[in-house]
């Protein structure tokens, strides 16, 4: 479905007369097969959005080759647009001042979907995403979660075999996030839609993706499944302990106390050590009011991965 080989994207930036070349994507290669659900991660500025824009033909690769659904995105952008669905989470394709339904009608004409097919598809998506109550509401009055569901519908009306999502859950509350995730999971499982998802939300990846690709400084730093990623980068978990009263740093073998603030202390637990044993050891030796274990989040994992 997607084939990227040695893709590079340079930008020339002029600042007070001085031209500098910035390499946003620095030679990445990957393939995504039909029916896969792939998470695409990386810190801000890593080159995620640039990759997405090359995949959709909005930007042309400076060198290397990009093929999506058998097409060259930059040369066959229009044909490609009819075969893929794209959602930019921070932007909307809907008309701000018009009812959601009207935007979807215009998109039907844009993608040349037959009226009968459109109606069936819209009914199905309305049902799955619960659009019913706000189809007649102007988009500017929709909540972010409703708008995102509207945008997902707009991207899927022409039943594309590939869906590219750029941070679709950004800013959504937990309920809206769950709705979007459930929907994407069904779409992938029941209709076999290939999905490429960029996100900063590890929850999205954990719930949805069989495979993760991580990009940093324009290079692909990891490509594989999430568990392997966690073990290979050996990111530490953090134990946050609230003691009854301020004490000197807790000392336990193999565990480092990295921060002390009054009665609260932060301990890092290496991957190989049993967290339950550490918790028990802390509880035995100190009067503990509360305790919390924080799994490494995506930024930690990515940072670790890149620092190696």
């Amino acid at each position: 479905m997607i084939e990227v080989r040695d893709a590079v994207k340079n930008f020339t930036i002029r600042s007070s007369g001085v031209r500098t070349r910035v390499t946003a994507v620095d030679g990445i290669s990957f393939t995504v097969g039909a029916g896969e659900f792939v998470g695409y991660l990386g810190p801000n500025g890593a080159g995620k959005s640039t990759t997405i824009k090359m995949l959709t033909g909005i930007l042309t690769a400076s060198s290397g080759s990009v093929r999506v659904a058998g097409l060259d995105p930059s040369r066959q952008r229009t044909t490609l647009a009819r075969r893929i669905g794209v959602v930019f989470g921070q932007r909307t394709t809907l008309w701000w001042d018009l009812p959601l339904r009207d935007s979807l009608t215009l998109i039907r004409h844009l993608y040349k979907v037959e009226s009968r097919v459109h109606r069936a598809r819209l009914d199905e998506l309305t049902e799955l995403l619960g659009l019913g109550p706000f189809l007649g509401t102007p988009v500017r009055q929709l909540s972010l979660g409703q708008r995102m569901r509207g945008d997902l519908t707009a991207a899927l009306l022409h039943a594309p075999p590939l869906l590219v999502l750029d941070e679709p859950t950004i800013g959504l509350d937990v309920v809206s996030k769950a709705t979007v995730r459930d929907f994407l999971q069904r779409l992938n499982a029941e209709q076999g839609t290939t999905i490429l998802l960029t996100t900063h939300d590890l929850g999205d990846i954990e719930r949805l993706c069989d495979r993760v690709m991580i990009i940093d400084h324009g290079r692909l730093a990891y490509d594989g499944d999430l568990d392997t990623l966690r073990t290979t980068v050996d990111a530490e978990r953090v134990l946050i302990v609230d003691l009854e009263r301020a004490s000197p740093p807790i000392r336990i073998d193999g565990v480092e106390t990295v921060r002390v603030e009054g009665p609260r202390q932060w301990l890092t637990i290496p991957r190989g050590l049993n967290a339950a044993a550490v918790v028990a050891a802390v509880a035995r030796r100190h009067e503990v009011r509360d305790i919390a274990l924080r799994e490494p989040d995506i930024e930690d994992v990515v940072t670790r991965l890149y620092l190696r």
């Binding site: 930008f11 801000n44 500025g45 959005s49 824009k53 959709t56 033909g57 909005i58 930007l59 042309t60 952008r77 229009t78 044909t79 647009a81 009819r82 794209v86 930019f88 921070q90 932007r91 909307t92 394709t93 008309w95 701000w96 001042d97 018009l98 009207d102 009608t105 215009l106 004409h109 844009l110 993608y111 102007p138």
Partner: protein, 260 residues
């Protein structure tokens, strides 16, 4: 047809902001009265200046006030400028449709609304308040065609200004240049017929003349032959929109999208 739909949506988008349209009508009319008295004073001091009589000058004034909305004389660029600045243009560029044609359709929808709901009122007010002569139906038709051409020229100019934002990354400089040029050379500040010598001659063939001066002259039955008037507008519309097409292609090759 997708473009008809885009145009009708643009029309309805304007209609969503009735208070803005109403206040536009009010300001355009009030300023029309103010300008009318300035022009009356000028033509009383210099009768038949530039081949206009006092009544022509007053009619000219209300015509230009009526055209402010349709040709969007104060705008500088299109709404697309804001989309380029924020990066929302990524959405426009992804759509399986021609970028320029899309925004032309959008602008025609906007102009149609402005003509109907912002243009009519100042003109009618001028006609009644100053007892201006009303031309026959044929002249109205000729005038409407000239307004349509003016909107096309205006779009051509504003689209070019807009695309420059892709290269300059900010529109403030270019917009103020475009604003001054269109105010002065369109005949908005003073009819171009009063400009003397080479400056007058030049200003009457520049693209901005096609926005206000030419349609106003078609209405008043002044200035060059009707066909020459149309020819000037068509030449500029084709040149500017054609230039916009070329620049679109160049821009696509060398694009930077803001905001990640």
């Amino acid at each position: 047809m997708i473009f008809l739909r885009v145009a009708s949506y643009a029309f309805r988008r304007q209609a969503a902001y009735r208070a803005a349209a109403a206040s536009g009508v009010l300001t355009n009319t009030v300023f029309g009265v103010v300008r009318a008295y300035v022009l009356i004073a000028l033509w009383q001091a210099r009768p038949s200046l530039g081949g206009y009589h006092v009544a022509d000058a007053v009619a000219y004034c209300f015509l230009t006030q009526a055209l402010i909305g349709p040709v969007n004389i104060f705008a500088g660029g299109l709404d697309l400028v804001e989309r380029i600045r924020t990066g929302d243009v990524a959405i426009d560029l992804h759509r399986p449709v021609d970028l320029q044609a899309w925004w032309l359709a959008d602008d025609l929808g906007r102009a149609a609304f402005a003509l109907l709901f912002r243009g009519g009122a100042p003109l009618l007010f001028g006609v009644f308040a100053f007892r201006l002569p009303v031309p026959g139906p044929l002249v109205w038709l000729e005038f409407l065609l000239s307004v349509l051409l003016a909107v096309l020229v205006s779009f051509g100019l504003r689209y070019l200004v807009t695309l420059l934002v892709f290269w300059l990354h900010d529109d403030r400089g270019i917009r103020s240049v475009a604003f001054i040029a269109s105010m002065f050379f369109s005949g908005m500040v003073l009819p171009l017929v009063v400009f003397p010598g080479w400056l007058g001659g030049l200003s009457r063939v520049l693209p901005w003349a096609a926005l206000i001066q030419v349609p106003a002259d078609v209405f008043l039955g002044k200035g060059p032959d009707l066909l020459d008037a149309y020819a000037l507008q068509v030449v500029w519309a084709v040149t500017l929109i054609g230039g916009g097409r070329l620049l679109t292609r160049a821009t696509r090759r060398k694009l930077v999208i803001h905001g990640g």
